[in-house]
C-alpha cells in the first residue's frame, strides 16, 4: 500500500484522537454535547404554559406565574403543596439551594474543591451539621405527639421529594443547571437534614459571632476602660419598644462590669479563634453583610385606611439570585403570601388573610455565642471538680469534641476554649414558621413563637385591629458566680446557663399608646430591664430606629404610599440630624477657607443623604476622620493597634465603611455622645472643637483632592451593587447610584466606586391590613438564578427607584386575570 493512501485515515484517526483527548482532559465535550450539554438548557428559559407529570404527587397542582414572575401554587393537599414548592423552587433556584445546603453542612469541598477546606472544617467545628441532624431526628421522633413536628415532618419530606423530582426531571431532560454541567458534577439529592442545615446557616448569619472573644482581648489590655469603649447601655438611645426605660438596674450593670480575667494561654486561644472566625462565611457564596433590618407597624388610628400598616425590610447581603423566593402558597387551611429561603419550605416574612408579620435581628446579647474556658484531662473535661468524658464526633472527615457546654473550638495543652452557641440547641424554627403561616390572630401567633430558640429576632405583627411586636428566643440567664457573659467565662462549673428569660418577660408590646412600633435592631428594652441583655457591642447603634420613630412622631397620619416612599427613598441620617448642629457650633467663627465652605454646606443641609448632595459627602467624611482621630490614637496608645489588627480589625465609622476596616456600634454611640456632650474623654484629651475642626479640614482636603471641580456629590461615593452569588462578576448588576447611608433604612455604607455596598433591604414589603390584596413589595433580584433568563434581575430597577410591585393575592388560580398571568404550569401525578 502506498504511504499516500494512509494520509486520509490517519487524518481521520487524528481528528478523533484530538476530540477524545479534549473530552478526557476538559469538560468541553460534555459541555458542548448537542444532545446533553449546555445548549439544552435553553429549554429552561422558555416561559410558557406546560404540564408536567411527576411521581409522588397525589393530585393536580396548578402553579400560576403572575405577570411579575411571582409563583402562586394551588394544591388540594398539604403534601402536594410543599412538594410543588420544592419542585418549582428547584426549577428556578437549584444551584442556590444546593450551595446553601452544602454551606450549612460544611460540605463545600465536595463540589467546589479543596479551597473550601478551612471553611468546611470551621463550619463542622461549630456544630452546625451535628445540630442539623439532631433537629431533624427530634422532629421525626416527636411527630406522633407534637402537631408542629407532625406538620414539619410532612412538609419537609414532601418539599425534599419535590426538589429531588426537579433534579430527576432536569437530568432526564438534560437541563441540569449550567453550573453543575460546567463543574462536571451531579446535583446531590436533598433531605430534610439539609433544610435544617439551612436553618443553622441562617442562625449563623444572624446570631453567631466573636464579640465575646473581642471583648476579652480588649479587656486584657484596656481593663476597665473597656466599659467606656463598650458601654453596657447606650447613653443616647431613648426609644425602647419593649419598655423598661426607668432607672438603671444595678445588678445587671454589675454583672456586665464583672469580667473574668483571662491568662496569656486563653488570650492566645482567643486570638487564634478570632482568626478562624474569618473562615465563616466563605470567600465565595458569601451572603453576609451587616444584618440590619427595619420593621414598623402603625395602628389603624394613625393610618388613612383606618387599619394597621406593616412595613418589613430585612437587611441582608445582596446576591443574584437573591436570598428570597417570592410565592403564594394555597392549600388546605393555608393561603399565605411572602418570601421563602432556599431549602426551607415556609414563608418567613409575609401575610395571610388575617395577619401580617416581619422580622428584624435583635441588638447585642453577644450574638448568642458564649465562650467558656474549660480544663481537659485526657479524653475528659472537668466540671465541678469531676472528670466527664468528651463526646467525640467524626463529621465531614473532621474530628469534633464536645464538652457539656458545646464544641471545643481551640485548645492548648489542657486548656480549651469551648463555645456555647445558641444555634446548637435542638430546635425547629422552620416548624414555627409553618405554624405562623396559618395563624389567624395574635394569640395563635404568640403561642406559635413560644418555642422559638434562635436566631434572636423581633417579630412585628399586625392584624385588622391591632399591632404588636415580640422578641421570642432563648435568652440565657447565668447562674453561679456570674461573670460578664459578654466576655469569656470560666467553664469549671462555677458559672453556667441556669435557664432562660421567661416568655412573658421577653421584650414585647401590644397596641402601644403611641400608635406605632419601630424595631430596627435597636435594644428593645431600657436600662431598667431586670435581666442581662447584652451590651452595646453589636452590629447596630440604633440610629435608624430613632430616625423612624422621629418620622412617625412627625406624621400623625400615614398612608400606604407614605410608608412605601419612606422605606424606599427616605435618606434622612438621624446621626447627622443629632450631631451636625453641634458640629456647626464647634466650627462657628473659624476663618479657615475649607472650614468656611464646609460650614456653609452643612448649615444649609436637611440631613438627607441624597445622591446629589455635597453636604452629605462633607458630613460623611468629616465624621469618618473624626472617628479615626478620636479612637485610633487611643487604641494605639494602649497597644491594641497595631498588635491586634489581624484579630480585632481596624475600626472605622459608619459600620466600618472603609475597606479592610471593622464597624463598631459601641464606638458610634461613644462618638455621638462625645459630640453631644462636647467631651471625648477618656478616648482623647483634645477638645471636641479642635477634633471636629481638624476632621473637617481633613475631609475637605480629601474631597478637593478627589474631585478638584468641587462636584463631590454623595452619589459619587454611594450606590448599590448586586453581585452574582457564585462569584461570576460578569453577572453582577450595578453599581447604581442611590441615596442613603449606614443610618438610613438601606443601611450599608460605601466609599465607591469600588466599594459599593452589597447589602441592604433584601425584601421591602408594606402590607395594608384593610385589604391585604392591596399590599406592595419588592426584592432586588428576580425569581430565576439563570443570568440568561429575563427573570434574573428584573426587580432591581424597581428596588433602586423605590417602585414596589403589587403583591397579587388571589385565592384560586381561576381568579387571576389573564392579563396578570405570565404562564401556568400544571403538575399532575404520573411519570417515574
Amino acid at each position: 500500500m502506498r504511504k499516500r493512501a494512509l494520509i486520509a485515515p490517519i487524518a481521520g484517526v487524528l481528528i478523533v484522537v484530538i476530540i477524545v483527548v479534549l473530552g478526557s482532559f476538559s469538560p468541553l465535550i460534555s459541555i458542548l454535547n448537542p444532545s446533553t450539554g449546555v445548549i439544552q438548557n435553553t429549554r429552561n428559559l422558555v416561559i410558557g404554559n406546560e404540564s408536567i407529570s411527576l411521581p409522588g404527587l397525589t393530585g393536580k397542582v396548578v402553579v400560576v406565574q403572575d405577570s411579575y414572575g411571582v409563583y402562586h401554587i394551588y394544591a388540594s393537599s398539604t403534601k402536594d403543596l410543599y412538594y410543588a414548592l420544592g419542585f418549582i423552587q428547584a426549577k428556578e433556584r437549584l444551584e442556590e439551594i444546593e450551595v446553601f445546603g452544602l454551606e450549612g453542612m460544611g460540605q463545600m469541598q465536595s463540589i467546589f474543591g479543596s479551597s473550601y477546606y478551612n471553611y468546611d472544617k470551621f463550619q463542622t467545628l461549630t456544630g452546625a451539621p451535628i445540630t442539623a441532624q439532631k433537629d431533624w431526628n427530634s422532629v421525626v421522633n416527636n411527630a406522633s405527639v407534637n402537631a408542629t413536628d407532625l406538620l414539619t415532618k410532612e412538609a419537609m419530606q414532601s418539599y425534599s421529594s419535590g426538589i429531588n423530582a426537579s433534579i430527576n426531571y432536569s437530568e432526564s431532560h438534560h437541563t441540569v443547571p449550567v453550573l453543575f454541567k460546567l463543574l462536571g458534577v451531579k446535583p446531590y439529592y436533598w433531605t430534610p437534614v439539609y433544610s435544617y442545615a439551612v436553618q443553622e446557616l441562617m442562625t449563623q448569619q444572624l446570631e453567631f459571632g466573636s464579640d465575646s472573644l473581642q471583648f476579652a482581648v480588649l479587656y486584657s489590655t484596656l481593663g476597665n476602660l473597656t466599659y467606656d469603649l463598650i458601654p453596657t447601655f447606650s447613653p443616647v438611645q431613648n426609644y425602647y419598644y419593649g419598655g423598661y426605660g426607668g432607672s438603671t438596674n444595678h445588678s445587671v450593670l454589675s454583672l456586665s462590669h464583672n469580667t473574668y480575667p483571662i491568662n496569656s494561654t486563653v488570650l492566645s486561644l482567643a486570638e487564634n479563634l478570632l482568626q478562624q472566625f474569618k473562615y465563616d462565611p466563605p470567600t465565595y457564596f458569601n451572603f453576609s453583610t451587616s444584618d440590619h433590618s427595619n420593621e414598623i407597624v402603625v395602628a389603624g388610628n394613625r393610618t388613612t385606611t383606618g387599619s394597621p400598616l406593616l412595613m418589613g425590610g430585612p437587611v441582608l447581603g445582596f446576591s443574584l439570585p437573591a436570598i428570597w423566593f417570592q410565592v403564594q402558597l394555597v392549600g388546605p387551611g393555608l393561603d399565605v403570601y411572602g418570601v421563602v429561603l432556599p431549602g426551607a419550605p415556609a414563608i418567613i416574612i409575609g401575610f395571610n388573610q388575617n395577619i401580617a408579620w416581619t422580622l428584624t435581628d435583635t441588638q447585642a446579647i453577644s450574638s448568642g455565642t458564649f465562650f467558656f474556658v474549660q480544663q481537659l484531662q485526657g479524653d475528659s473535661y472537668i466540671w465541678n471538680g469531676t472528670a466527664y468524658p468528651l463526646k467525640s464526633y467524626q463529621i465531614n472527615g473532621f474530628d469534633v469534641n464536645w464538652t457539656n457546654l458545646g464544641p471545643i473550638m481551640a485548645q492548648q495543652g489542657n486548656t480549651a476554649l469551648v463555645m456555647d452557641w445558641i444555634g446548637n440547641m435542638v430546635s425547629n424554627e422552620i416548624g414555627t414558621f409553618l405554624q405562623i403561616d396559618t395563624a389567624a390572630n395574635w394569640t395563635q401567633f404568640r403561642s406559635d413563637l413560644s418555642s422559638w430558640v434562635a436566631p434572636y429576632q423581633n417579630f412585628a405583627f399586625a392584624n385588622k385591629s391591632m399591632i404588636a411586636d415580640i422578641s421570642p428566643s432563648y435568652y440565657p440567664i447565668f447562674g453561679g458566680t456570674a461573670y460578664n457573659p459578654s466576655s469569656i467565662m470560666p467553664g469549671n462549673g462555677t458559672e453556667y446557663i441556669s435557664g432562660a428569660i421567661p416568655y412573658n418577660k421577653v421584650p414585647q408590646v401590644v397596641n402601644p399608646s403611641q400608635g406605632f412600633i419601630v424595631s430596627s435592631n435597636q435594644r428593645q428594652v431600657g436600662t431598667g430591664y431586670p435581666y442581662w441583655f447584652g451590651t452595646t457591642e453589636s452590629f447596630s447603634d440604633g440610629f435608624r430606629a430613632q430616625m423612624e420613630v422621629n418620622y412617625l412622631l412627625n406624621h400623625s397620619m400615614v398612608s400606604e404610599t407614605n410608608i412605601v416612599n419612606f422605606q424606599g427613598t427616605n435618606y434622612t441620617d438621624y446621626e447627622a440630624q443629632a450631631a451636625v448642629p453641634h458640629i456647626l457650633s464647634y466650627l462657628q467663627g473659624n476663618t479657615n477657607a475649607s472650614v468656611e465652605r464646609a460650614y456653609s454646606l452643612l448649615s444649609a443641609w436637611n440631613y438627607n443623604m441624597t445622591a446629589d448632595s455635597l453636604a452629605a459627602s462633607v458630613w460623611f467624611f468629616s465624621y469618618m476622620y473624626l472617628f479615626n482621630d478620636t479612637f485610633l490614637p487611643f487604641l494605639e496608645q494602649y497597644g491594641i493597634l497595631p498588635e491586634f489588627n489581624a484579630t480585632l480589625g481596624i475600626p472605622s465609622g459608619m459600620g466600618g465603611s472603609y475597606p479592610n476596616t471593622a464597624g463598631s456600634a459601641s464606638m458610634e454611640i461613644d462618638l455621638l455622645n462625645a459630640i453631644l456632650t462636647g467631651n471625648a474623654s477618656p478616648f482623647s484629651n483634645i477638645s471636641m472643637k479642635n477634633l471636629v475642626t481638624e476632621a473637617v479640614v481633613q475631609a475637605m482636603s480629601y474631597l478637593d483632592q478627589k474631585y478638584p471641580s468641587g462636584n463631590y456629590s454623595w452619589g459619587k461615593f454611594y450606590g448599590f451593587l448586586f453581585p452574582n452569588l457564585f462569584g461570576l462578576s460578569e453577572f453582577n448588576v450595578g453599581p447604581f447610584s442611590k441615596g442613603g447611608d449606614f443610618n438610613t433604612p438601606n443601611d450599608a455604607s460605601g466609599v465607591g466606586p469600588n466599594n459599593y455596598p452589597t447589602g441592604g433591604q433584601s425584601w421591602e414589603m408594606v402590607v395594608n391590613m384593610s385589604n391585604v390584596s392591596r399590599s406592595f413589595g419588592i426584592y432586588p433580584g428576580g425569581e430565576s438564578e439563570d443570568p440568561a433568563s429575563p427573570l434574573y434581575a428584573n426587580y432591581v430597577n424597581g428596588w433602586i427607584n423605590g417602585t414596589y410591585l403589587p403583591l397579587l393575592y388571589y385565592p384560586t388560580p381561576t381568579s387571576i386575570p389573564s392579563n396578570e398571568t405570565m404562564d401556568t404550569i400544571t403538575l399532575v401525578p404520573g411519570g417515574s
Partner: protein
C-alpha cells in the same frame, strides 16, 4: 451501489444527516462518527465527496438540533456559558459545529479508506 458524483454526494449527505441525528439521540456524541463511516461505505465515491458530505452533514445535524430548541435563547445562554468558561460565546457555538462536523468527517475518511481497501482486494 452506483451513484453519479452529485447524486452520490446528496445521498451521502442524507445518510450522514439522518443517521447522525439519530445517533445524537444516544447522547454519546462520539457515535456520530459512524454516520460518516456508513455513508462512505455505502456510497464509495472517494475522499472528496465523502469528506465534503461528512463535514457538511455534521454541520446540518447541529442545525437540525438547534431547530428543536428555543433558538431565541441560544445566544443569551451561550454568552452565560462563555463568560463562565472564559471562552467567547461565538467560539463555543462554532466549536459545536466544528466538532460534530469533524467527527462525521473523520468517520467519512475512515469509511472511505476501508471501502477502498475492500475494493482493491
Amino acid at each position: 451501489m452506483k451513484f453519479s458524483g452529485i447524486l452520490g454526494f446528496v445521498v451521502s449527505l442524507l445518510i450522514v444527516v439522518i443517521l447522525g441525528t439519530a445517533l445524537l439521540f444516544t447522547n454519546v456524541w462520539y457515535l456520530v462518527l459512524f454516520s460518516g463511516v456508513v455513508a462512505s461505505l455505502i456510497i464509495r465515491k472517494g475522499y472528496l465527496i465523502s469528506t465534503l458530505s461528512g463535514f457538511l452533514g455534521g454541520v446540518i445535524v447541529i442545525l437540525l438540533i438547534f431547530l428543536t430548541l428555543p433558538t431565541g435563547h441560544i445566544g443569551a445562554l451561550m454568552v452565560e456559558v462563555g463568560s463562565i468558561a472564559g471562552i467567547p460565546s461565538d467560539l463555543l457555538i462554532a466549536l459545536i459545529f466544528l466538532i460534530n462536523g469533524g467527527l462525521c468527517l473523520s468517520g467519512a475518511l475512515l469509511g472511505t479508506f476501508v471501502a477502498n481497501a475492500f475494493h482493491k482486494s
